[in-house]
């Protein structure tokens, strides 16, 4: 009988052995998200820098806006809004930006808590942190977190997909990302593509430990691998900026609240198979989210709160040497705090539209989502001024 059992065991375990031995090389980074710098000398378009609100103010609080390019060329934004962060009436809203007129169409509710609970077959206490991106088949993905019990540390990631620029959406999928009751994996950083169509999703863990991680998803959204970027209780919300097929830099929010806190930084030169030990960058960080774009000349742009504490400043920073030095390109917001009111400009999102313009969305005092749009001429004049 034992011999028979050992034989049965060998048969059962053989496919697992073959699977474990089959180490496929990590796919290369796709450079689809890299922003293109146009040759503007020929056309000389006029400088363009405009500011407006993307949200209408229909909800008392809004937060965590992101933006994605649609196949029509327009941009679609997502954010969550309600009475306050974590309240039961919080929903994910969406609105479309007409690229030609630069006007926002009317916002609408996309993800509503009770409806989502019914679709997922679970109780949901709150929803938050939408993150959007467009895959290699022009489908728009929206990741968001849901919480059944406790605070944000109890988050689980879900996603819905649209193949018609956000007019209709798939049933939600609840991702499995953690062995601890599938709790405490959150999204904020924008996803990116690999050349084989698979997806990189920067995530973070927030229960007891606080640390950045990177998920590798199949083109259908199943987790294939999970890489820890650092242990401990100090980092959150990584963003990934690939520069070529094998190289990328990651910046992470510093969750320490220390008076000299700076962004964390790591990099890879083997398409993410290994990451350098995390170091502190020279950029200050008041425990706040950051966003960025890689330029096709190798430069990097980051939008961040350029001070060690408080979020009353939001700045556009530039590095031409892989983050060795950073220069202030523009202060998007700078307001003085008063004892009565503390300004808060946070959770920025940064994208380039098909016409080459750049778009920054961010939470404006938690009341509105603000939209800053500038063109190549404006950016390149600023870059020239730094030289």
């Amino acid at each position: 009988m034992r011999l028979g059992l050992l034989l049965l065991m060998a048969i059962v375990f053989l496919p697992l052995l073959l699977k474990s031995l089959n180490h496929e090389p990590s796919p290369s980074f796709s450079l689809e998200g890299v922003a293109q710098l146009a040759d503007i000398s020929a056309e000389q378009p006029s400088i363009f820098y405009r500011v407006q609100f993307a949200s209408s103010g229909a909800t008392r609080e809004v937060h965590s806006a992101v933006m994605v390019r649609l196949s029509s060329g327009n941009m679609r934004a997502f954010w969550y809004g309600g009475k306050r962060e974590g309240a039961k009436d919080v929903s994910v809203y969406t609105a479309e930006l007409d690229l030609l007129t630069n006007e926002w169409r009317e916002e609408r509710v996309l993800v509503e808590r009770l409806d989502m609970a019914q679709q997922l077959g679970v109780y949901l206490r709150k929803i938050g942190n939408p993150v959007a991106f467009r895959d290699s088949e022009e489908r728009v993905w929206l990741f968001f977190v849901t919480v059944s019990v406790g605070g944000w540390a109890g988050s689980t990631i879900n996603f819905i997909i649209s193949d018609d620029d956000g007019l209709s959406w798939s049933e939600p999928t609840r991702m499995v990302t953690s062995p601890i009751l599938n709790l405490s994996t959150l999204v904020k950083g924008e996803p990116f593509l690999y050349t084989d169509g698979s997806i990189g999703l920067p995530v973070y863990h927030e229960m007891i430990g606080k640390f950045g991680e990177l998920l590798h998803l199949s083109p259908t959204g199943v987790v294939l691998d999970k890489v820890r970027l650092m242990p401990g209780r100090v980092s959150l919300q990584p963003i990934v900026l690939p520069s070529d097929a094998d190289s990328a830099r990651i910046y992470m929010r510093n969750a320490t609240d220390a008076s000299d806190s700076t962004l964390f930084e790591t990099w890879t030169d083997d398409a993410g198979q290994s990451w350098a030990p995390v170091v502190r960058s020279d950029l200050p960080n008041p425990n706040a989210a950051v966003t960025g774009l890689r330029l096709d000349d190798g430069g990097m742009l980051l939008v961040l709160n350029n001070q060690h504490d408080k979020r009353n400043n939001l700045s556009l920073m530039y590095s031409e040497n892989e983050g060795e030095t950073w220069q202030l390109l523009h202060e998007i917001e700078q307001e003085e705090n008063t004892p009565e009111f503390e300004h808060q400009f946070s959770y920025p999102s940064f994208r380039q539209s098909i016409d080459g313009d750049f778009h920054v969305l961010y939470t404006w005092n938690k009341e509105r989502i603000k939209h800053v749009r500038f063109n190549q001429q404006w950016l390149q004049e600023r870059l020239e001024a730094l030289k």
Binding site: L6, L16, Y123, I180, G209, K226
Partner: protein
């Protein structure tokens, strides 16, 4: 596919609810009474409260139970109601030695997995569960080693749990490609930890533990 997985999740959570009710009442109820509890628990598990069945509420807390836990819950319910025809099953089910090995397996697995997966170290053992990634051979070796030991030592209860988990992993019965999710979950680890402590206490005070 997602709907099937949700159904499996809600089914396993309902199973947990039913097993809890049966476990809580079986000490002071005759078999007929227990059968009524079983029917009542299954029935109540299907009635929606605020648009969600009880299994859905349990599923919200427990997420997907591992295949090993689902099997243990099914086996527990079966043991409560099976007749005398299933003596072989009952021998293994009620064997202290079989249970000791099962609880040691889960407690050890929990100790290896959860503290480090929670961020204690840079090394994340949960990553070992993704086949085809570097170091996934370690989890394969760990489970294979346990399975061989089970055959040699006749620990058939644990052997069935391990083999069933691996088979379910091939069949993708859960929405995860991570082998850990099929083998272990925090509920079975916590249960095993208490069972092991209870067993230790009983031995310390030289009392026979009761199943």
């Amino acid at each position: 596919m997602m709907l099937m997985w949700t159904d499996i999740g809600i089914f396993s959570a309902t199973l947990l609810w039913v097993a809890l009710l049966v476990k809580l009442t079986r000490a002071w109820l005759p078999r007929k009474g227990l059968l009524i509890v079983l029917i009542g628990a299954v029935g109540s598990g299907m009635i929606p409260f605020n648009g969600l069945v009880i299994g859905g509420y349990f599923f919200s807390l427990s997420s997907y139970l591992s295949i090993a836990t689902i099997l243990l819950l099914l086996a527990f319910l079966f043991s409560c109601f099976a007749g005398n025809r299933y003596d072989t099953f009952k021998v293994y089910w009620s064997s202290d030695q079989q249970w000791l090995v099962v609880t040691v397996f889960f407690v050890l697995g929990g100790l290896l997995l959860y503290p480090m997966a929670g961020g204690l170290t840079m090394f994340d053992p949960y990553r070992l569960g993704y086949a085809g990634t570097p170091w996934s051979m370690i989890l394969f070796g760990y489970l294979f080693g346990w399975a061989v030991l089970c055959v040699l030592k006749r620990w058939y209860l644990l052997l069935v749990l391990i083999l069933a988990s691996v088979l379910a992993y091939y069949l993708k019965l859960l929405p995860s490609l991570n082998l850990w999710d099929y083998v272990i979950d925090p509920l079975v680890v916590v249960y095993s930890l208490f069972a092991l402590l209870k067993c230790g206490c009983c031995r310390l005070f030289k009392r026979q533990p009761q199943n």
